[in-house]
Each structure stands twice: as C-alpha cells, then as structure tokens.
C-alpha cells in the first residue's frame, strides 16, 4: 500500500477536497460579531453576510401580521448602550422573547437596518440550565 498508486489515489482525493473547500469558502463565509463589536466596527460591511449576536431589547418587538414582518432591536448583553434595529420577514421562532439572546444572520443594506434572513434563538441549552450555578 505504500506504493505509487496509493499516493496517486490520495493525491487525487486531497486535491479534490482541497479545491472544493477553497472554492466554496468565500461564498459561504459569514462574519460573526456581537452587537457591541458590530456597532463599533470601522470597516464597511456591505455585501458581506453577517451574523450578529445580541439580546432582544425589551419593548422593541413589533409584529406586523399583514406583511408577516417582525422587527426588533438588538442590544448588548448588559442591555444598555446603542442598539441595532433588525427587520426579519418571518414568524417569531418558538423561543423568541424580549430579553432573550438571539443570533441574526443577514446584511445591512442602507439606513443602518439589519435585514435578517435567519433568526436563531439560542436553544436554552441541551446541556446546561439557564443560570449555571456557581
């Protein structure tokens, strides 16, 4: 098996896998930030797919049933400071609630509104209780 053919076979597959990973990565990259990081960002993010983690600001949730649109604002984990307005054209996920941590994925076109095409609630852990006991 240490023969020439073994290495040729390995080289073919390694090249194929390498090429696939190399060519697919740029188009599927999502840049991840927390709300604080994102709002403090200096570089332009247009055209990039973004993922932002934050807390749903209490009192900011609006649900437009006619258009099926959900809008809310994300704030940092301490709840204070600046906030990021988010528009999401979909229904509230089961565990979505004010004050909960959520992850939004999408982009910022103009006007500073985050257009989310995915909204994930952090699943209240399969593994640990909400407040880990110290």
């Amino acid at each position: 098996m240490q023969g020439k053919r073994f290495f040729i076979a390995a080289a073919i597959v390694v090249a194929a896998v390498g090429y696939l990973i190399y060519s697919v990565t740029p188009g599927t990259s999502v840049y991840c930030y927390t709300v604080e990081e994102f709002l403090a960002l200096n570089e332009p993010t247009a055209g990039r797919k973004l993922r932002v983690l934050g807390r749903v600001s209490p009192g900011s949730v609006q649900w437009n049933a006619e258009q099926g649109k959900l809008s809310f604002a994300l704030v940092g984990s301490d709840g204070g400071g600046r906030s990021l307005p988010v528009a999401y054209p979909g229904i509230k996920p089961a565990m979505f609630a004010e004050g909960r941590e959520v992850i939004v994925e999408g982009n910022v076109e103009s006007g500073g509104v985050f257009h989310a095409d995915t909204l994930m609630t952090k699943c209240p852990s399969k593994y640990e209780a909400e407040q880990p006991a110290e």
Binding site: V13, V17, V24, T28, C32, I91, A94, C123, S125, Y127
Partner: protein, 665 residues
C-alpha cells in the same frame, strides 16, 4: 445515600488508576499476577461506577432536591420516565453516563477475552482504564454530579421541555454507546502496536465491537435528526450544527474503518491506514464530547463555558502523541509488501471509498472549527454555514454513493473488461435511464438527478448480487427461492448484511436528495376561512382554540388540507407555553406519507376570536425514505453482527483452542 455515590466515584478513580499501573507493570515485567489483579480491578471499577450511577438515578427518581443536579433537571411534576432520562439531561450526568458505559464496555471486553489474547489484554486494560480514569477525574474534580444545593429548594427546575420527547430521551445514550464502544477497538489497536502483534488478530477480535459502535452511532445520528425534524420546527432534519457534526465525524471514520479492515483481512494491505483510522475515530469521539461540553464553538445549542475544555485538550493531545509515537515506532513492521495492482480493482475502490470518507470528515471538521481558525489567523470570527457543508460534501457524497455500487462486486486485484461489462452493464444502463427519466419529468436539479442515477445503479448491483448468489445455490442444491435466499444470507452474514446496509444507504440518499432539492415552503398570514397554496396542496385556516394542561397552556389551530380539490387531511399545529419554564415551544403538525411530508408550524394567532393566523408550511418530499433507509441500515447491521452457525460452533470450541494457545506460549 448520596455520599455513597461520591465515595464510589472516588474509589473507582483510585481503582482504575491502579488497574492502569498494574496492567502495564505486569506486561512489562511479565508478571501474570499483576495482569490478573488489573483485570479484577477493571471489574471493580465497573461495579463502583455502576453504584455511583444508580445513586444519582435514584436521587433523580425520588426527587432528592438536596443534590444540585436533581434540583436543576428534575421536578415533582416531571413524569417518572423523563426523571430517569434526566440522567443525561445535563452536563455532569451525561459525563457520568459516559463513564458508566465505558466501565461496562471495559469489563465486558475483559470478560470476553479472559482466556484469549493474553498478550494484548494488559494493554487493553491500560487504555480503557486510563480513559475511564480521565472521565472520573472530570467527575470528581471539575464537575461533580453529587454537588449539594447551596440552599434547600422545594422543587426542582424540571427538564427542558424540548428534551421531553421520546426521541430525545434515547438519542444521547445511543450516541454515547456508539462513542464509547469505539474505545474497545482503539484499545486493541494500541495493544497490537505495543506488543508488535500487528496481524489482523486485533481486528478480528474487535469486529463485533466495531460493528456495535457503528450500529449505535448510526442510530444516534438518526434519532438526533428525527428529533430535530419533529421538535425544532424549521422544517429540516440536519443543520450542520457543530453538535451534529461532532456526532457525524466519528461515524464517517468508523464507516471507513469497517471497510478498510476487510482489505487488511483479505489482502494484508492498509495496515498503517487502519491504525490511523481507529486512532482518528477515537480522537473524534473525544473531540465530539469536547465540542459539546467545552463551549469552544457557539451554536444554536448554546454551550456553557464550563472549564472542561483544557482537560479535554490535554487528554486528546496526549492520546494523539502516544498513538503517533507507537505507530511510527512500529512503522517498519506495519509496512506491507502487497501493492495496489490497478485502479480498477476492489482494493482500489475500497481505498477511494476510505479517502472520500476521510475527505468528508476533513471538510466537516474544517467547517466546524473554521470560526476558531479564522479568529486566530485573521482576527475576525468567520463561520461557514450549511451552504458550505452542502456544497463541499454533496459531490464527495455522490462519488461515495457511486463507489458503494462498484466496491463490493468489482474483481480483486485487476478488473478485466469482461468482468466490468458482466457486473456493471445492466446497473449502469438502468441508472442512466433513471437519471434521464427524472430529469425529463421536470426535476431539473443536476445533483438530484445524479443521486437518483447512482442510487438506481447501486440498488441494481445489490439485487443482482442476491440474484446471482441465490441462483448459484439453487444450481447446486435443491431449494426453493425463499429458502435459498435465506441460507445464502445466513451463510455469509457479513457480506449480505453489508449489502442490506448499502440498500438502506440508497433509500436514505434518495430521501436526502429529494428533500433538499425539491422542498416547498410557504409562510402566510391568513384570516379565518382563507386558503393558500403550497406545492400541490391547498391549506385553509379553519379555527383556533385554547387548551390548558397541567404543564402547559396551548393554542391549537385547525387547518384543513385539500389535494386536487379533495379533502386530504386536517392538521393541528400547536403553540405551547410550558408553565414552569415559561418557555414557548412549537408543536409541529406532521402528515407523513411515502411521497411527501406536510409539515405545518403555527407562528401565532392574532385578533379577536382568533381572527388571524400566521402559518408556516413545508412540503418535504421523500423524507420518510430517510427514516426507512435508516431502519434498513440498522437491520442490515444486525444481520451482519448475528453469529452464524459456524461461528457459534467455533465459539464453543474456542476455550479449548485458547488453552492450547496458552500452552504453546
């Protein structure tokens, strides 16, 4: 009572440490008494961990809220069944379950080989007990299952409602069984390296363990997918989440291992490769636990930062270093003289199958840890989502599917043109025809059509194999078709069991291809009585009502479904709020049929008298084929594992053989 559990864990820690040392010392100084003592210690550590597990179990069932773990994961109103499964509802309980299964497997392997493999066993003992010792260390010093509550509580927090689902109740133990079982073949591989007995004895001895590991990993992954599908309400079954990937990767390498050991047994090739594969599989099972426990990669299944991470890293690096040293030390003896004669041969096909499986594993690993790599290299955390995994793994998976048809039937060494036409002409024609037919029928999706073509190709080769075998038997002995088929399988369980597993893979692949290429999705907000269309179905929102249950309050919508103007089904998606956790969950309404699943999620009800409803509908084609394929895979594995009549006889004799072997030693 709970002190007994804590004490047992501490004793088990000492005993396993002793077993590790005694086994190695006994092997090094050739002192049989130490080896035997290490063996007894293995049984003792198993008994002690069992006691600890039962103590925690008892506490969960009797709702002893003086224990923190019980207070966090159980409650008075939790059904007893779920109180039992709460053992693996949280972190420390899961680790205890892990340690317990490992202790049981170690003892069982020890007992199976009490009169066999004398040279190997001390090292097997050392490896299993060292691993057990690591988990016991975590349970004693880092995350203690018997920790007391700081102040008394009247009632516990209860189990997460999402976990109160029968599939989720059995998914973790099945996965853990699969993960842990890998330790046994790994231990034998290390023993083979340590002793220099590098033939296929270690592979043959652990064949059942390997298959068992694969069996439980398969079931574990399927149950996880099933749970995600039924419970999470996003219409899919696989999201390439780190937790899912963690469970998939060892399955992939174990699949590779299952195939490559055949080549070692038949051709004495790939000896180094097999060593590498089993080490990799073991590391990936530990890495899987590490991923889910350490919080190193965040995912929807939010992980807590638990401080376990560094210990896992140290353990993995130690294992990796020790294994790499052993393999490089034995490299000269591991090399085999046999060469790959041709790319058109069974050996080469199996090799490509292995390389592809490893390629998929690598791509999956790369995508999973990409956030860490990019953060380290570029300072920005970049994740790659499901599109990455789908785009990279689909072509690799399809190539693998194709080889599933080629590998088992192509000739050894070098296939001739005659062999190729004889074996593959018909499957190739049928496959191509099927692919073209599907495309012509309007399903213009390249990968899906290729998947169908390859599936039909593989399935035809399998049927053809059964037909040939049955015919050959009937030509020799006078048997009916059914009888001939039954005996054919019974006499070659491994081979035909393997074919059955492959058939299951084919069904599952068709289901995966169809459901990912052709799913329809609609999200609407409609008034009472209003209809909308998705796929070939018309949905009407009829009404909604409120229901109050002891554990939760729910809103249930009634949605009638018509197909071609005829009544098809009435569906009742639900939104629940669990009182204790104040957590809303969606209960998906599912109408399963062989050709498509209707998957309806209730988004919300608004207005007076439930005037308006927001409804999310998925029409998922052929999803049930995936579960069917999974069942067939599981059934095929059972066929392959079941001892044949000849094996039963040889097992009965093995005691005598063994005593002869020992005498010759």
């Amino acid at each position: 009572m709970n002190e007994l559990g804590a004490l047992s864990l501490r004793l088990a820690f000492l005993v396993s440490l002793y077993a590790f040392g005694a086994a190695l010392w006994g092997a090094y100084r050739r002192r049989r008494s130490f080896v035997l003592s290490a063996r007894s210690a293995t049984y003792a550590s198993c008994a002690l961990v069992s006691v600890a597990t039962f103590v925690l179990w008892r506490a969960l069932v009797v709702r002893d809220f003086s224990l923190l773990y019980v207070a966090e994961y159980s409650s008075r109103d939790l059904p007893t069944g779920y109180a039992i499964t709460a053992l693996w509802g949280g972190q420390t309980g899961s680790l205890l379950l892990w340690a317990w299964i490992l202790a049981l497997c170690a003892a069982l392997a020890q007992w199976q080989n009490r009169e066999r493999n004398r040279e190997l066993m001390p090292y097997v003992t050392a490896v299993t007990q060292a691993t057990l010792n690591f988990f016991l260390f975590l349970l004693i010093f880092v995350t203690d299952p018997f920790e007391r509550v700081p102040r008394m509580v009247q009632d516990g927090a209860g189990l997460n409602p999402l976990l109160q689902n029968p599939w989720m109740a059995i998914h973790p133990p099945s996965l853990y069984l699969g993960f842990v079982t890998v330790t046994i073949p790994f231990a034998f591989a290390v023993a083979a390296l340590a002793t220099g007995r590098l033939g296929d004895a270690w592979i043959r001895t652990t064949r059942r363990w390997t298959l068992a590991a694969w069996f439980f990993l398969t079931i574990g992954n399927l149950l996880g997918a099933q749970w995600a599908y039924l419970e999470l309400g996003w219409g899919g079954y696989w999201a390439w989440d780190p937790v899912e990937n963690a469970a998939l990767m060892p399955w992939l390498t174990m699949t590779a291992f299952l195939h490559s050991v055949i080549i070692q047994e038949k051709k004495d090739m790939l000896r180094v490769w097999n060593m590498v594969l089993i080490v990799l599989s073991f590391l990936l099972t530990i890495f899987g636990t590490f991923l889910t426990r350490s919080g190193v990669i965040s995912s929807v299944h939010s992980f807590t930062k638990s401080g376990l991470g560094p210990y896992f890293i140290v353990f993995m690096l130690t294992t990796l270093a020790a294994s790499a040293l052993l393999i490089s030390y034995r490299l000269p003896q591991l090399r085999s003289d046999n060469e790959l004669d041709s790319f058109l041969s069974r050996e080469a096909t199996f090799l490509f199958n292995n390389l592809l499986l490893l390629g998929i594993t690598f791509a999956t690993l790369w995508g999973t840890i990409f956030p860490i790599i990019s953060e380290a290299v570029r300072g920005t955390k970049i994740t790659v989502g499901p599109p990455f995994f789908n785009k990279v793994n689909t072509p690799l998976g399809l190539a693998l599917l194709f080889l599933t048809g080629v590998g088992p039937v192509i000739a050894w060494r070098r296939a001739t043109a005659r062999n190729l036409t004889r074996q593959f002409a018909l499957p190739f024609l049928l496959g191509t025809a099927a692919g073209i037919t599907v495309f012509a029928a309007g399903y213009h999706h390249f990968y899906a059509c290729v998947a169908v073509a390859f599936s039909v190709f593989v399935f035809t080769t399998i049927i053809d194999e059964f037909r040939r075998g049955t015919q050959a038997r009937r030509a020799l002995v006078h048997e009916g078709i059914g009888q001939a088929l039954g005996r054919l399988v019974a006499k070659n369980r491994r081979r035909y069991g393997g074919y059955i597993v492959h058939a299951g893979v084919v069904f599952a692949m068709i289901g995966i291809a169809a459901s990912s290429a052709f799913r329809t999705e609609a999200q609407v907000t409609v008034d009472k009585g209003e209809s909308f269309r998705a796929g070939s179905f018309d949905f009407t929102y009829e009404n909604a009502r409120e229901v109050s249950k002891p554990h939760y309050a729910a809103v249930i919508a009634d949605i009638s479904v018509k197909k071609n103007g005829k009544h098809f089904a009435t569906m009742h998606p639900e939104k629940r709020i669990y009182r204790r956790q104040q957590q809303p969950t969606s209960e998906v309404a599912l109408k399963i049929s062989p050709w498509e699943d209707l998957y309806v999620v209730l988004g919300g009800i608004e207005g007076r008298e439930a005037k308006q409803a927001t409804i999310l509908v998925y029409v998922n084609p052929l999803v049930s084929w995936i579960w069917l394929g999974g069942l067939v895979m599981v059934a095929g594995t059972i066929v392959a594992v079941w001892p044949s009549a000849a094996e039963k006889r040889s097992l009965a004799f093995s005691r005598e053989e063994v005593s002869v072997e020992a005498w010759l030693d």
